[in-house]
């Protein structure tokens, strides 16, 4: 049983981790550029999922479902993702404009507070407009379960993992090898002098938020496919944990954020079977409910031994207070 059992859990961990990774990527984006905790990011993820829901429903009603379908499911999905990414990017731009740009000179913590507050406003607006009930995310593509030697994998899981790895690579490329990426990193270090080398600072900041939010939208939709119950607070605890991943990876490190995201998912999922195995081996009786306790103790220990995260540089940006 053990091999199957482990493989199955590994696959579960991969899917779960890919969401942390995707959201952590968005965090890391904004974070590495403005050195800000964008605490609204989790809620932008929520907004992205809802926008995705709206777009998907719209497309479904336009192009039909079932036998009357004009477009195949996968095309609808791709369209939904692209349109929602585009729309959510604007949400990000607005959030930057309203909540962050006025605070560029302020202590970072103040901006963190604004982020938190914008998050609350997004959640509340959602309840105001949609009434707070859970909504179901439509299943654009047929779910197919493959049984590979007793290990169950769905087509969606595979897709989700591939998409997040793809996005991570693309983003890494953008950040480390393009002028835009350099400008973003430069801004993280010392935003004041960025204009002095001819870089339009506000454009870069807006771009960053736009990309980060678009990523959140993609994550939101994939999330909707995997866990089709949306609620206004879905971004909160998820957001905080992705935030942990973003920093754990090492601030400003896109790869790091992504890997840490996978790792966090891995730790969270694998503690359950690990406890099972321990119990069986040593005939103990530890509950799998200790998951958070164990997972975050691991995070804590990692940070104690790697004080700059997994892939973080040791340079210290000037803390603004």
């Amino acid at each position: 049983m053990t091999l199957n059992f482990l493989m199955q859990n590994l696959i579960n961990a991969l899917q779960w981790g890919s969401f942390y990774a995707l959201i952590a990527l968005g965090y890391s984006m904004v974070y590495s550029i403005l050195m800000l905790f964008n605490f609204a990011h989790g809620d932008i993820f929520m907004v992205g999922a809802y926008i995705g829901l709206g777009v998907a429903l719209g497309l479904l009603s336009l192009f039909g479902t079932g036998a009357a379908a004009i477009l195949p499911g996968w095309l609808l999905l791709v369209l939904t993702i692209l349109i929602s990414m585009f729309l959510t990017a604007f949400v990000g731009i607005i959030v930057e404009r309203v909540g962050y740009r006025p605070l560029r000179e302020a202590p970072r913590a103040s901006a963190a507070i604004t982020g938190l507050m914008i998050g609350i406003i997004l959640e509340t607006s959602n309840i105001l407009f949609l009434g707070g009930s859970r909504l179901k995310f439509p299943q654009l593509i047929q779910s197919v379960t493959y049984n590979i030697g007793g290990v169950y994998v769905t087509n969606k899981k595979i897709m989700i993992v591939l998409v997040s790895i793809g996005l991570m690579l693309a983003l890494h490329q953008l950040i480390s090898h393009t002028k835009w990426g350099m400008a973003m990193r430069a801004m993280a270090y010392d935003y004041v002098v960025v204009p002095l080398v001819g870089v339009p600072m506000n454009t870069i900041a807006a771009m960053t938020f736009a990309i980060g939010s678009a990523l959140a939208a993609a994550a939101g939709i994939l999330f909707g496919l995997a866990y089709p119950v949306l609620d206004p607070y879905m971004g909160v605890s998820f957001g905080w944990k992705a935030f942990v991943a973003a920093i754990l990876g090492g601030r400003g490190s896109i790869m790091g954020a992504c890997i840490a995201g996978f790792m966090l998912g891995f730790i969270e999922i694998m503690t359950v079977p690990a406890i099972q195995i321990m119990n069986r081996l040593f005939s103990l009786n530890i509950g799998s409910n200790l998951r958070d306790l164990i997972a975050y103790s691991i995070v804590l220990v990692i940070l104690i031994f790697r004080p700059h995260g997994l892939f973080g540089q040791a340079y210290s940006a000037k803390l603004r207070l």
Binding site: N4, F5, N12, S133, F223, V229, M234, V272, P273, G287
Partner: protein, 369 residues
């Protein structure tokens, strides 16, 4: 006693979650209450006519807030009695406040024993988990012929955790220790249940018991299916609220859960309530709505039974409590109710099956001995 009208008004407070993690529950309660008010804006007590006033206060689905709201309703708004909170995590602490201030409180939906225990002023409108647990265990044994069961529940929430434990005790009572082969937990807000379901799959259980809220059920059911689970799933009364079928779709069809009443195929008063509610709000009333309706009915009945109010709110509250305690066979839409000494009604549980049309179809009724 200040306002000229105040003497002719009876105020009832609602301590419900309008924001926070479960606004649906608050909305259903509020809907139900408003419907009641529209229908019966005045009541006769001891030959005198009173206006009913309802005060809805938001407990944000937080224990801390529930305490504040109870205090506010009692000391500030001067309510005669309180309906709510719905969830045990709020009802347990809020019950303490109500009891300390000697104000009658009915929690429509809290199934945790501690809510009313040693609190003469606190009542509830539903059965208790020590009852529901065995009902489910028996059902799994008798109807689903299960010999080994698995449970997946939220360790961080009062209700699922309590019920899971009662189920486990009852099931192991029948099939012997170790017959609950997987007892898997998660934490509020979790969305991924694949690790737990993997374990359950490997455990060889014949049935999974899922005492979870309607918002988590679809995800759990789905995770089960994705892991190749084909055996039955059994739920609890929390399934019957909110928009379970809207969220779960086909995935949930064919499963069973124990609950307070079955909307599909209801008759009489219950049907009248369901029809009116559906006409007003465009959706079938869920359990909270029905239970809130009954709790309100109980409260009003008790007020009437006092035979007349003195105008001294403190004395009146005690009178209402006494009247509540001695109510016999109140004809609620979710069943007849008589309170035990603890303030718990003896009520039957209903087991419903989710049929292929997605309706909650009456399957069986289990009454306490």
């Amino acid at each position: 006693a200040i306002d000229a009208d105040a003497a002719d008004t009876i105020k009832i407070g609602f301590n419900i979650p309008l924001t926070g993690d479960n606004p649906d529950v608050g909305a259903s309660s509020k809907n139900s209450a408003e419907m009641y008010l529209k229908k019966k804006p005045k009541i006769e007590v001891g030959g005198k006519s009173y206006d009913l006033t309802f005060i809805f206060d938001d407990n944000e689905y937080k224990a801390e807030s529930a305490v504040k709201v109870s205090t506010k309703l009692i000391t500030e708004e001067g309510v005669l009695g309180i309906i709510g909170p719905q969830s045990s995590s709020q009802a347990v602490p809020a019950g303490d406040v109500a009891n300390n201030y000697a104000t009658p409180m009915i929690s429509p939906w809290s199934t945790n024993p501690n809510t009313t225990l040693d609190r003469p002023y606190v009542f509830r409108g539903c059965f208790l988990d020590p009852f529901q647990g065995p009902v489910s265990a028996n059902f799994a044994t008798d109807e689903l012929s299960a010999k080994k069961a698995a449970v997946i529940y939220d360790i961080a929430a009062d209700y699922p955790k309590g019920l899971a434990e009662f189920f486990k005790a009852a099931f192991e009572g029948i099939h012997g220790p170790g017959s609950v082969v997987a007892f898997e937990s998660f934490t509020t807000g979790d969305k991924d249940f694949s690790a737990q379901m993997t374990n359950i799959m490997m455990s060889g259980a014949d049935v999974v018991f899922v005492p979870q809220y309607y918002s988590e059920v679809p995800l759990i059911v789905r995770a089960a299916k994705e892991m190749g689970w084909t055996k039955p799933i059994l739920g609890s009364d929390s399934w019957g609220s909110g928009d379970l079928m809207g969220l779960c779709g086909d995935d949930c069809k064919g499963y069973y859960f124990s609950t307070h009443y079955a909307a599909a195929g209801a008759k009489g008063e219950t049907k009248a309530f369901i029809d009116e509610y559906t006409a007003t709000y465009g959706k079938t009333p869920d359990d909270v709505a029905a239970l809130t309706w009954d709790a309100l009915g109980l409260m009003i009945q008790a007020i009437k039974n006092t035979g007349g109010l003195s105008g001294d709110i403190k004395a009146d509250r005690t009178k209402v409590k006494d009247a509540l305690a001695s109510i016999q066979n109140f004809p609620g839409i979710t069943g007849g109710m008589t309170f035990t000494a603890d303030g718990d009604p003896k009520k039957c549980a209903v087991v419903v099956k989710i049929n292929d049309a997605g309706q909650f179809e009456f399957f069986k009724s289990v009454c306490p001995k």
